[in-house]
Symmetry: C2
Subunit: 393 residues, 2 copies
């Protein structure tokens, strides 16, 4: 077991009609001007943004608006947000949306409070000096950004998708009404579920002696998401299932499922970031497309861990040895992906990767040969290429 | 499933040598003078207090000291602490010890920042206007006060033991080194484990439709504590087992195991508070002594829930109906209590309750007939008397 720290200061307000409390929650932060940050038209069309504006008005909170966040949120809009906040004297960010909107808000928050070039943080050149306080109204269960310290931004100059983690960006509050996720298309719901599962799986597959308490919480969380993802494919308006998935999304990425570990592997996420940067695929779908290839490539480094996962999470029958059991678990996970309409290779997303593209993905993912990724097995540029190659079709 | 809020702002620093960071953690709070609050001689003799003082000195933190906290912490010492803090201009409380020390610090914190009569809070006459910020160095895994919003104080005038819950008292940080708990006597270790389990069991036995995610976390937490409590009876220096129990202690009372529920029953805790007030027994032992009696008294109100507990937590074979299964679970829990040296009735603690004492306990617990307790089944003064009566021997 490893020493660890755990810090989840976000106040969660969870349940039906939770968004009605938004104005009061913002007001309690004692800010003078708010940036209302959101994505496309769906939050507007559904009436959610109207209700949020009403709630802010009723609380007497002054705000300016910036919409237009897209999946794989862009650096250009972050710059626009930073300028707007400076011009308007914004001192609090309210993100209404999913992980992309919240991540965009975090980047804006860094940019305003830090004062320097924000992309340098995502390039890991230095740490942020500060971040504006952030509140969130969650509309997509997936990224866990509503409680996490992480954000991922895509720089259109080179289509580089990079993450930056810092506790100072953990949101002050998260308003979570599962009903707000009921209108999501099946594909996006399933993609979100994969993302949630992967946040725990990345931590679960590690190189440390594990904490029993954390293992059991993690295994139960993944099983619960799988069960409820299947329910939502047939019954998207099921409140209980939406709620299980939504709360799992927060717990999966707030640090809880990493306590006592070395932090986890995260290679699948890094492999997917390049896919997302190059092909703009849904993040969870991209993760599903590379995970099986990654798992088969690294499982020999910790077959006993993959076997535990197979039995405790996937309900696989133990095989003749850990390797056989591990493979059954990987196959069972791929069956689950298929069952909820997720890809198990890149071709399943309608993308035929060329040899040159796979080489470029590996080159970018390895920062041009300058870094390895993963901890179950350390992966260099050639390993990354092989995993993309095996994930092709 | 119920709407819920979740708020755990405490920064946890967990693992070997964690206490060395205490000075820096206090300094980061930006306070000018600290009250170092602790219990009896063990923290002094073990050298822990010396190391904490050294850490404070190295960080350049100024402090005054107040020791002498006893189990079932007393209101008189709280008053003394409030006076000392006012005299010395203390603006941060550092509690080094277990739940009693942390609870005492919380009461002092309320008293100083609130300005009014602190006992009125514990009498539920009003809410606190404020609380001094608190940090903790944990030495006993039990109460969960290091992350919780609760504190329990005993008023020597009438030996009334009362709790008060308020989010403003949640500690800013918790330093948790499992090694610090290795010197605890077996009885105290087991008593702590029962307290931890009960914080989740009180939430688990409720009247609401439950959240699957919370149920599984709760069931795994209780199983993990039971397993590791047994290990510690033979191997008190087992770091991994100490760590599992310590982290379970925090998660069990920080709110996680209540998410999506109606808050839980809590009757066993309230019944025990009166026992603790009258006989000064160890809190966990007192809980073990009344739980079986409580469970048998109320199980008919939710037999299916007790049956789920029996199967998923206690590993009981299902009986002919839920009632039979439920009883098997209760018996299995009592067998566990015995196995770790805990009582299953009040007589097991060497106390022969008289008829008059049981009547007095029920009278106090019902606030002289003015309140009911519990939610699985609402209990009035006569119910309380019957439960004490059945728990006698």
């Amino acid at each position: 077991m490893e020493n660890f720290s755990y810090y989840t200061p976000t106040r969660v307000v969870f349940g039906r009609a939770a968004e009605e409390q938004t104005g009061e929650l913002v007001k309690a932060q004692g800010c003078s001007k708010v940036l209302l940050h959101y994505g496309g038209g769906s939050a507007e069309r559904s009436g959610l943004l109207g209700r949020i504006r009403q709630s802010l008005d009723q609380a007497g909170v002054s705000y300016v608006s910036l919409g237009g966040v897209v999946p794989n949120p862009r650096l250009s809009l972050v710059y626009e947000g930073i300028d707007l906040c400076r011009r308007e004297g914004v001192d609090f960010l309210l993100a209404v949306g999913g992980g992309s909107v919240i991540d965009s808000a975090k980047a804006i928050g860094y940019g305003v409070a830090d004062g320097g070039e924000v992309w340098e943080l995502y390039e890991k050149k230095r740490r942020a000096k500060g971040c504006l306080p952030i509140g969130t109204v969650l509309t997509i269960s997936a990224a866990g950004s509503e409680m996490s310290n992480s954000s991922v931004i895509t720089n259109e100059d080179g289509w580089l998708k990079r993450g930056y983690n810092d506790d100072i960006s953990r949101p002050k509050f998260a308003v979570m009404n599962p009903e707000l996720t009921m209108t999501l298309p099946k594909y996006q719901t399933a993609s979100g579920c994969v993302d949630i599962m992967m946040h725990t799986m990345e931590r679960y597959f590690n190189q440390s002696g594990n904490m029993e308490l954390t293992d059991g919480i993690s295994e139960h969380l993944i099983r619960t998401v799988m069960k409820n993802a299947r329910i939502l494919m047939d019954d998207p308006d099921n409140y209980e299932a939406r709620a299980e998935v939504m709360w799992a999304g927060s717990l999966s990425h707030n640090g809880l499922t990493g306590c006592g570990t070395d932090g986890g592997d995260w290679a699948s996420h890094q492999l997917e970031h390049e896919l997302g940067g190059m092909f703009d695929v849904a993040h969870g779908a991209g993760l599903a497309a590379v995970w099986g290839s990654w798992a088969r490539y690294v499982m020999d480094a910790r077959p006993e861990r993959f076997a535990q996962f197979a039995v405790n999470v996937m309900g696989a029958e133990p095989g003749a040895d850990d390797t056989e059991t591990a493979l059954r678990g990987i196959q069972a996970m791929e069956s689950f992906y298929r069952a909820v309409g997720m890809p198990v290779c890149v071709k399943d997303m309608g993308i035929e990767m060329t040899e040159a593209q796979m080489r470029e993905l590996a080159e970018k993912c390895s920062h041009f040969g300058k870094r390895t990724i993963g901890c179950v097995k350390k992966l260099d540029q050639e390993d990354m290429y092989q995993i993309y190659r095996n994930a092709r079709d």
